[in-house]
Assembly symmetry: C2
Homo-oligomer: 206 residues x 2
Amino acid sequence: MMIDWSRLSRDYPILDGLPATLRERVVERSVTAGERLALQGETPTGMYFVLAGEVRLLRRSSSGRETVMQRVQEGFVAEASLDAPCYHCDLIAGASGKVLVFPRCDFEAALTESREFNQAWIVHLSGELRRARSRNERLACPTAAERIRHAILTEGDGRGLVVGSTRKEWAAELGLTHEALYRALRRLRETGAIHEDGGWIEWLAD
Amino acid sequence: MMIDWSRLSRDYPILDGLPATLRERVVERSVTAGERLALQGETPTGMYFVLAGEVRLLRRSSSGRETVMQRVQEGFVAEASLDAPCYHCDLIAGASGKVLVFPRCDFEAALTESREFNQAWIVHLSGELRRARSRNERLACPTAAERIRHAILTEGDGRGLVVGSTRKEWAAELGLTHEALYRALRRLRETGAIHEDGGWIEWLAD
DNA sequence: ACCACCGAGTGATCCAGATCATATGAAATT
DNA sequence: AATTTCATATGATCTGGATCACTCGGTGGT
């Protein structure tokens, strides 16, 4: 089955600059919910690009805690693994779908050979870094309401955002229990600070 | 005054691959504690490398909260600003010292011209991204003790770490009030979970 | 069609951390 | 030398979130 590069290039500028040599080496793969693409400690052999479904980058600490470090419905996952001798996290499919797998050595070769691709990758990494730092800021907020406000205002378009996951998963991402999230959302709704409509949440007051 | 490139290259591999053209354009600058190197919203004009003292990347939210996103005693600060139209954070000197300023356009040019430097920059960005994600994980820990444990085990060498800042600043970095940190540290000390010796903190029990 | 599972949502209780207050000693400023 | 400032440290109190417990409704599997 052929990969629709024209659509992908349109939606993902970074794939537009993909060298032809790398494009030839990529393989499409189906993943089923719960499937483990990679485990903590393994040597990365490829770079994954999620086309459909969901892939999560999650870390299991020795104390048993599980933290989702990244959750991707479309785009690259575990970008920083490229320069790591082994995965620091597990790569788990959260929902069935499709991924592109770029062989690691070909990906690295493409980065050294193509200026354009290289540039695009730096921009991509920088963006991810900003996003991760933004999430740090969010998690440093002491109250649930502040974390919710931060999420709405810094993700999304400034007015509101579409939460692309279940409330329960969103709660974990915000470093809250689901109960705390439900209650905080209700309080904010009742005081008129937010407006909820399905997955869409808008920040009104301040 | 001349810059001691041989020492810098030894200590910072990334500077080793620095193209000569960029090396010629860099300027050394003294900063005094509290000095603002850049403010949120400004267009980045240079990339900063801290030689001595401390520079902080901090974000002021509209609610008045201040969060330190990055704290650098030696190394690059605000790496992700290179690909941003404007700073998302302030750059403030936390302690007097010296910084190298690489003019933005020259830095960008060097990245496109030098493969070696480019590669090193990608490695650097990936490392920062992993560090930021690790901090995400830490801040998602619900208790002070768990955050402390995480910090000790993931920063530092695995047994312990040297906290390179005041307790108060460390508390903020851990998303805690300083009171909560002092109390948690005392509890851990009294139960024999950690051993403190000045700036050195070691994790003993589990 | 049935059952098991899971997310949504709420109540009750408890505890950890935020907040406020205050003391002390060291360092920086005058 | 005197004064201000700030980090360290601890106590008292309060509150927000964790935890436990439960209901309800949808959905996927058998």
